[in-house]
């Protein structure tokens, strides 16, 4: 089963309900799309991610009402360095979509989606803990897994696997 090439042309993918919805709401909110291995990725502008999530959750046609996962990827030393990844699931439609926000390494701040899904709480705390990304509007942004007095963010690529000794 050879892999089909990835599609990253916005013109070809604007028929996807989530992309169409976001474009109709604010054309500047979508900065790119990718369709690869049967999975849809939408790159969202950093300032509009919370509204985009609320929109996709409440829209009857999309109905992405469940936040499956929220995590981050560090592309050090490239800039923008971080990609915060949101995996949304539509329970009524049984479909998934992935939203991505790119953040630069100097000030990795993004709006928290806890007002949209209270369950994002732990996911965002974990990302804050392990990547050092701050989520503005989060109710309790403290370390989740590492000790309170830990220095550094272990899942960053410039943090050695063995740790500092």
């Amino acid at each position: 089963m050879p892999l089909a090439p990835a599609i990253s042309d916005l013109e070809q993918l604007k028929g996807h309900p989530a992309v169409a919805k976001l474009l109709a709401w604010n054309p500047g909110s979508v900065t790119g799309v990718k369709f690869d291995r049967d999975e849809m990725t939408i790159y969202v502008d950093r300032s509009s991610v919370r509204e985009a999530c609320a929109l996709l959750r409440d829209d009857a046609e999309c109905a992405f009402n469940f936040l499956s996962d929220l995590t981050c990827v560090d592309w050090f030393p490239a800039e923008p360095r971080f990609e915060v990844v949101y995996h949304l699931l539509s329970i009524p439609k049984k479909e998934r979509v992935r939203l991505k926000v790119k953040l630069d390494g100097a000030s990795p701040v993004v709006d928290s989606v806890t007002p949209v899904w209270p369950g994002a709480n732990y996911f965002e705390r974990e990302v804050f803990d392990l990547f050092g990304i701050r989520f503005s509007g989060h109710p309790y942004l403290r370390r989740l897994l590492m000790p309170e007095d830990w220095e550094g963010h272990p899942l960053r690529k410039d943090y050695p696997v063995e740790g500092y000794r």
């Binding site: 892999l3 291995r37 469940f66 499956s68 990827v73 995996h87 732990y122 996911f123 897994l145």
Partner: protein
């Protein structure tokens, strides 16, 4: 008053610490504190070859090792675009349902033990022992099985394996009746669980709960049925859903799942296809021992896979499976080399644990123990 519960408390199922703000016997505020078991598995994965990550996945959720194995290998196979032979897929389904039964038996035993029913624990572990022996027969290990490989299975199951599973599937439904006789109609059990730790469907979805915790609140979703993987679409089973949203509803969901799982095991035994258990992908799947001794190419491939791994085309995949606890997801990012650039596990328990304050605030301290048991947490998965 602030009460500290755990991390070494017998009913927290591991090293969960819970901070309780109480007013008399009533819980005003509850805050779970986790991280005591954090081992940095996600970071470790980035330093290993793709095939070396499989044994790490067992350690995440030690009660359902096969489900973790399956989720990871499915994600990598999707990255590679690899086709898996039908027999391997069916054995994977079979082993996964046995894992689900195994995990639910531990849950049922310890949950009942927390609430005060000692006997159920002994009964559950009697059946679990047989499942662990079956695991040992196929993989050599009782718990950390690492039986699935990228591209298929580690080995063919031994000759008498399917007969042993059939014997187990024959008597297991009667054993579930035994558990239910002890609990379902038991007035003490009902008083401790009915109407306790309620959660509405909206709350459950908002808090990202999944699995029986979500289905106990009336949301009808099961990834095996709704987004099938590994040929689950060829199996017939019901998805138990309860509307009440209390501890008793979650209990009934899981007990009903025990019966459904054994039904899937029977279907897998009856329809087991013939054929190889490994994909025909020489650079990715390790060659058979026999071929290595007789064929030069097989030896070269073996050497190359062991020493330098295999490159996976760049891209990213999110693969989710229905674990006994809910939606388990692996997000694997490849940069085109032989080591994963990023592996992230979506831990069902981590999300489910967030429902605990919602369930317990306003209730009694004694019910906190029932609520913790009803969401079926495994701290290894929460902390990773």
């Amino acid at each position: 008053m602030i009460l500290n519960m755990g991390p070494q408390h017998p009913s927290t199922h591991g090293v969960l610490r819970v901070l309780l703000e109480i007013d008399g016997e009533t819980v005003v505020r509850l805050m779970p504190d986790i991280g005591y078991l954090h081992t940095g598995i996600e970071k470790t994965c980035e330093a290993k070859f793709y095939q070396q990550v499989v044994p790490l996945t067992d350690r995440i959720d030690y009660l359902c090792p096969m489900t973790n194995n399956l989720c990871y290998v499915l994600a990598v196979e999707k990255l590679l675009g690899l086709e898996i032979p039908p027999k391997a897929q069916w054995v994977r389904v079979l082993m996964n349902e046995l894992t689900r039964i195994n995990s639910h038996l531990v849950w049922l035993g310890t949950h009942a033990l927390d609430i005060g029913a000692m006997t159920v624990f002994l009964y559950c572990f009697r059946e679990r022992e047989e499942i662990l022996r079956l695991f040992e027969a196929v993989s050599g290990q009782r718990m950390m099985t690492s039986y699935f490989r990228i591209g298929g299975l580690a080995l063919e199951p031994p000759l008498d394996f399917f007969d042993r599973v059939r014997t187990f599937a024959g008597y297991f439904p009667d054993r579930v009746d035994e558990y239910e006789n002890l609990l379902t109609g038991n007035p003490i059990w009902m008083m401790r669980t009915k109407g306790v730790a309620r959660m509405t469907a909206e709350d459950a979805i908002g808090l990202c709960a999944s699995g029986p915790t979500l289905r106990g609140s009336g949301v009808d979703i099961d990834l095996r049925r709704d987004m099938p993987y590994s040929s689950y679409e060829k199996f017939k089973f019901n998805v138990p859903v309860r509307q009440e949203g209390d501890v008793f509803a979650r209990y009934l969901c899981r007990v009903a799942e025990l019966r459904e799982s054994i039904g899937i095991v029977r279907q897998a035994l009856d329809g087991m296809p013939e054929g190889p258990v490994k994909a025909n992908a020489p650079g990715i799947v390790l060659p058979d021992r026999e071929k290595m001794k007789t064929q030069m190419e097989a030896l070269i491939y073996h050497f190359k896979i062991i020493t330098e791994g295999f490159a996976v085309p760049a891209g990213e995949v999110y693969q989710a499976v229905e674990s006994p606890r809910g939606e388990m997801g692996y997000y694997v990012v490849s940069d085109g080399t032989a080591k994963p650039y990023r592996v992230h596990m979506r831990a069902a328990c981590l999300a489910n644990l967030q429902t605990l304050p919602k369930m317990c605030e306003g209730g009694l301290i004694a019910d906190v123990v029932a609520a913790i048991g009803s969401i079926d947490i495994v701290l290894g998965e929460i902390d990773r």
